[in-house]
């Protein structure tokens, strides 16, 4: 009896980590973009393209690395589009993000249906889990921490790198200055435009990795709208994480834990309608927005186009 409880909790914790990752990638992407002063509302679309092209590359070549690369290129290109329109043309960052979302939903659905017409079993090759050897055999700890795909560890490594970059390097300080006060940053010799371009393109690449994580480590298949709003939830985890990469990691773990819990409750068959359980992440995102907006200071120049004089 006790063993069953332990198994449940271990499974829950393992799943919490696993389910937080597809949220962590786009959240970090959105964070980088917002720190440099540009809203990325195209995260959802970029994730979808990452998920589809990741899947497609792996399915066609049998190599998930090529898939991941294709997904990242697709996300980067969408990032470039967002960067060009919002930084250069200075048009509405919200509407362009929505446009990217609609476009990506259509493109991935269109291409996937074309494959579906031809192929018998269009499964992609997944990434193998990392082989940790004896570490994996440690009871409980091994299962929770050492049973994942490399992308999980890569995402956590990214948190460390981004945290170090933002708060411990001169380049990171300049980068944040671009989002806080671009005029002053430019006067101090920082290239505002270049920093913003770089931020938005990286943001697109990271978001697409979140999507590729779904198809290349979890499902092996693409489904239309597979990301189910994670690109939008990511924007609320950034606020919940107070614009700090470590905070964002915690926020994503919280969402992952909730998602894992609702999935386990579904399996337990307690008679709660599954639709109500599936609502939990979305309602949490709303609560996060309600509880933290106003108490969190966002980068001062966020969403404001920069005009060089």
């Amino acid at each position: 009896m006790e063993a069953a409880w332990v198994t449940t909790i271990v499974t829950w914790l393992t799943m919490s980590i696993r389910l937080s990752i597809p949220l962590l990638f786009p959240s970090l992407g959105g964070l980088i973009s917002q720190k440099a002063g540009v809203y990325n509302f195209g995260l959802e679309g970029m994730m979808l393209c990452g998920a589809y092209f990741g899947y497609y590359g792996s399915y066609k070549t049998g190599n998930p690395w090529i898939g991941l690369l294709m997904g990242m290129v697709a996300g980067g290109l969408l990032g470039l589009l967002l960067a060009f329109t919002s930084i250069h043309l200075r048009v509405s960052q919200l509407v362009i993000g929505l446009g990217i979302g609609v476009f990506s939903l259509g493109l991935t659905g269109y291409l996937f249906r074309l494959i579906g017409l031809q192929a018998q079993n269009p499964a992609a090759i997944l990434f193998d889990k990392v082989n940790f050897g004896f570490l994996r055999k440690i009871p409980i700890i091994g299962e929770i921490f050492f049973s994942h795909s490399w992308m999980v560890y890569a995402a956590i490594l990214l948190v460390i790198i981004i945290g170090w970059f933002f708060y411990k390097t001169t380049a990171g300080l300049n980068f944040r200055a671009v989002g806080e006060n671009p005029q002053v940053a430019e006067t101090a010799g920082v290239n505002v435009i270049a920093n913003r371009y770089l931020a938005v393109v990286i943001s697109g690449v990271l978001a697409s990795m979140g999507g590729a994580f779904l198809t290349l480590t979890q499902t092996a298949y693409f489904m239309e709208n597979i990301t189910a709003g994670r690109g939008w939830i990511a924007i609320s985890t950034i606020i919940l994480g107070k614009f700090n990469p470590w905070g964002v990691l915690l926020a994503c773990l919280l969402f992952g834990a909730a998602d894992a819990a609702q999935m386990q409750i579904q399996v337990m068959n307690l008679g709660i309608p599954y639709q109500l359980l599936l609502m939990i992440p979305y309602i949490m995102a709303i609560l996060a927005m309600v509880g933290f907006v106003g108490k969190v200071r966002s980068p001062a120049a966020m969403g404001k186009p920069y005009i060089k004089h």
Partner: protein, 369 residues
């Protein structure tokens, strides 16, 4: 003497004259840009069709024949027009009032729920009364759904963009739950809601087609809404709040009140769209009832540049594309999601072209708005 005469037209460089003309005729310029954006989007769509190994010209024939080449297709296009128009009005009015409502999809669904509750479960009413109550119930449900995000914004400062988007997903799941449980039709093995009573159905206005009275209602409502926004004091207040919150506050405008009216309008419109779609076209809620009208509305509003004539024309175009895509899928095997590709491209091109019009009018806007 010569200094006082206006310069000879020929002495001004051609480029400046073109610019001058463009500045004086921004309406024509933006219309031309929109048309160019559509052509470009359709052209890219054509390339995607060709890549799939399908003859794009054959596909286009299906698109035209299916959407307005015959009586039924024409009626169907105008039927799809109705929910599209309502969701784009919803986005446009919110936008004018400084409120980003990307939740028309959810509000439309909730409006349909409101419609089913009155349409299927309230009995013994005369048809006119039943139809009116049904519509009002849809408006109420849509307004409540938008109101959740709206009140969170007004009183707690929570960002409405994410919240309205999240509420779309919640509404979708809630409706799914309702049609599998409380509102499930007892007569069906499928997951569908109860069907509304005949007295709540809207009459067909063009025989041998699905075109229903909702079409006329939608045009009347559009006129009424733009009257409200442009010709009434509260409309003026809403627009002022939308244009500049601080200035509105200094001018003594009651921002909370203006925002609440904007919310009721924006949510109510989407809800009404859902109710009319239910009462005129589908009669019950099935899985996939809304089929993305709420998101299409954003593209329509952007393309129609938030003005009534523009929105009606853009809605018509999107309805033609939507119905035409269905015919293309059936006839030429072109997957339906191409619809979203084209709509997404139209949004991107039209909004990006805003740069040109801004340049011309020598103003710079931007940021989130």
């Amino acid at each position: 003497m010569s200094e006082l005469t206006t310069p000879n037209a020929l002495s001004i460089p051609i480029k400046d004259r073109v610019l001058q003309f463009a500045r004086n005729n921004m309406g024509i310029v933006s219309t031309l840009i929109s048309i160019f954006a559509i052509i470009l989007a359709l052209f890219i769509g054509g390339i995607l069709i060709a890549l799939a190994g399908i003859n794009p010209w054959e596909a286009v024939t299906y698109l035209i024949k299916g959407s307005f080449g015959n009586r039924y297709g024409f009626g169907e296009t105008l039927t799809r027009f109705v929910p599209l128009l309502f969701s784009s009005l919803s986005f446009a009015i919110a936008h004018k009032s400084g409120f980003f409502n990307v939740g028309a999809e959810g509000q439309l669904l909730m409006g349909a729920v409101g419609g089913v509750l009155v349409g299927a479960y309230v009995t013994g009413l005369n048809p006119v009364l039943h139809v009116i109550l049904c519509i009002l119930s849809g408006v109420l449900f849509g307004a409540i759904w938008a109101g959740i995000a709206g009140l969170l914004k007004i009183f707690l400062g929570a960002d409405e963009l994410i919240n309205t988007m999240m509420l779309n997903y919640v509404a979708l799941l809630l409706v799914d739950f309702l049609i599998q449980g409380p509102l499930k039709s007892p007569d069906s093995y499928l997951f569908v809601s109860a069907t509304i009573l005949p007295s709540a159905k809207l009459p067909i206005i063009l025989s041998k087609t699905p075109l229903h009275l909702g079409f006329i209602i939608s045009l009347v409502v559009t006129a009424a809404v733009f009257y409200l926004v442009y010709r009434t004091p509260i409309g003026f207040q809403m627009r002022t709040v939308g244009a500049n919150r601080k200035a509105a506050s200094y001018a003594g405008i009651n921002i909370v009140w203006a925002t609440i009216i904007a919310l009721i309008t924006t949510g109510g419109l989407a809800g009404m769209g859902g109710a009319l779609e239910l009462m005129g076209a589908q009669f019950k809620i099935v899985n996939g009832f809304s089929a993305g009208y709420g998101y299409d509305g954003i593209g329509v509003a952007v393309m129609g540049r938030y003005n009534p004539i523009g929105i009606i024309l853009a809605t018509l175009l999107f309805a033609v594309i939507r119905v035409g895509m269905g015919a293309m899928q059936r006839g030429a095997g072109v997957p339906f999601p191409l619809l979203n590709v084209i709509q997404g491209l139209i949004i991107v091109f039209v909004i990006a072209s805003g740069y040109l019009t801004n340049k011309l009018s020598e103003t710079v806007i931007g940021g989130r708005a």
